[in-house]
Symmetry: C2
Subunit: 326 residues, 2 copies
């Protein structure tokens, strides 16, 4: 099922077929219909390799997740993001090349490979870091990219991001309005930009320092225990993901502290997990599916050249549940 075969079957030239299939002028309405019908019958689809070869696009965008294999745990965020991305991509029948790697160095290698092999037309970059080698590399390569979770500290890449600082402020305000004045923050990986934003906003709002972790349930448990057995235990704790918050609720129970009577807990990011605990966890909800969708749309615009600069996504909203009170 090639253009050549269609041309033969329809009794026209290959270029006529190409024009007809791409809705371009140069063929009569009659011939166009004839060609389209033959192509339909033969279930013709363009060979993506040949298309890409003609200097055209690869018809795919790339997404790399850099994280050690051992920490590939519960990740509700991921599948939602990918799903949202694809809901936007399906419109332009663009494919997604997806790769999980161990670290950022491996990630940069993938970008080099994909771009030099012309496997992708652009990439979505997640988890911006302080001192991130990726924006520089991508700019140098000329590989179109959109930073998800940015804005890019180096100002190199366009980005889409939610305001973590304002979200943190809204959480602290909620807790303060409930009467809490000793609030703790169990943060995630310190090298991530959004972790820094949350830590700074938390410091501004409370004057207190955050504790950084690796996002694991183990860390959530340990830090919670340390916080609650300190001389002046906090009356409220904010966790940077749902896993740690769930572990925290368990740690509190193990220490005989009641939630929310003795201590209130808030999870950053909602998931079914947050509704499985007793009490259910107050959580910062964001529509990750829609976020992924918007990110992909934006990347397409960036590749077209119809958009540049940063795009702020809607603010995540706090959904109060049983774990906050007083």
């Amino acid at each position: 099922m090639t253009i050549r075969e269609i041309a033969q079957r329809a009794g026209v030239s290959e270029s006529a077929v190409s024009f007809a299939l791409n809705n371009r002028p140069g063929v009569s309405e009659y011939t166009r219909r004839l060609i389209l019908q033959v192509a339909e019958e033969m279930k013709w689809r363009p060979n993506s390799a040949a298309k890409a070869l003609g200097g055209a696009k690869a018809g795919a965008i790339g997404l790399v997740f850099a994280r050690p294999a051992e920490t590939l745990g519960v990740e509700p965020f991921f599948l939602r993001l990918v799903s949202g991305i694809q809901s936007a991509l399906s419109a332009s029948s663009t494919a997604l090349m997806f790769q999980v790697v161990e670290n950022v160095e491996a990630e940069t290698e993938i970008y080099r490979r994909w771009w030099s092999e012309r496997r992708v037309d652009g990439v979505l970059v997640v988890d911006p870091r302080t001192d991130d080698p990726r924006p520089g590399l991508l700019a140098e390569l000329g590989l179109p990219a959109l930073l998800i979770g940015g804005p890019d500290p180096t100002g190199t890449l366009p980005s889409i991001w939610a305001d973590d600082a304002r979200a943190m402020t809204s959480i602290v305000e909620h807790l303060t309005s409930l009467g809490h004045n000793r609030i703790a923050h169990v943060a995630g990986l310190p090298e991530l930009v959004h972790t820094q934003h949350r830590i700074e906003a938390f410091h501004r709002a409370t004057g207190a320092q955050s504790v950084t972790t690796d996002y694991s349930d183990e860390a959530g448990r340990r830090v919670t225990r340390e916080l609650l057995t300190a001389a002046e235990p906090p009356t409220a704790i904010v966790y940077d993901n749902d896993i740690m918050a769930v572990a925290g609720i368990g740690a509190a129970a193990a220490l005989g502290r009641a939630v929310p009577a003795d201590v209130s807990l808030v999870a950053w990011d909602d998931s079914p997990l947050c509704r499985l605990t007793h009490p259910m966890l107050t959580a910062l909800v964001r529509d990750t599916y829609a976020f992924g969708r918007r990110a992909a749309q934006r990347l397409v615009e960036v590749m077209d050249g119809t958009a540049t600069g940063d795009l702020e996504d809607e603010l995540p909203r706090l959904t109060p549940r049983g774990s906050t009170q007083e």
Copy 2:
């Protein structure tokens, strides 16, 4: 950075470059080294489109997840599987095309598209179903495929699978050895082949009927409540995933039933979730990362033609924790 440029820079013909780069005879050792050095300097990589065009391979395999957007919840299985797949693929520097779709019909459309566009050389098919349209379609298309979780009921596709029946038997035996004789099974989607295998094995081992669900926490909670408030409540419950088991432990607590004193619980599939509960959940552990790795290797062999037929993966092993006793 094309072959042409390298040829010019090295002062040789394009075919000499091609031979050198592909480690084929036809060039002197001296010339080969020269060419390789120039290619290295220019950071040359073959254009995958051009390569694929020459009747060669696309250099990618495909994976489609069919599930409605709403049920895209916590899915530890997924990221581990993908990660394992890629650990095997990286050896042959094969890429992964990944897609999430709403249903099996959309999935079959993706297969048609990918194959006619020559985007992939083969696909991994997950969640075999009773009355599954995919094996027939893939065989008809001639798209190489490996069924993950199968054996294929229609006997059309080669597969890799774990023995769900024996695994179920081992769970029931464990519970029986603890003295349980009223065991319930909260199964997953009835249209999945492995669900049927588990249900049949459960029936053979206990004589009892299973309850099918949609894997959601909501279903786990509801069914657990129904089971425990029945006239003759079970003393042990086996859940087909971790989410439902965690929901079940919550439902039991809400009814004032102690775990494991009043009722023992077992989760099929381990995840950090199973260690976040009190007591921790006894779980059927499988090495999903290794499973994905073996699946990808097997698919590569199937595409090479060096392997056919089914491959049985290692049996998942039960890891007793606090939620089973008596």
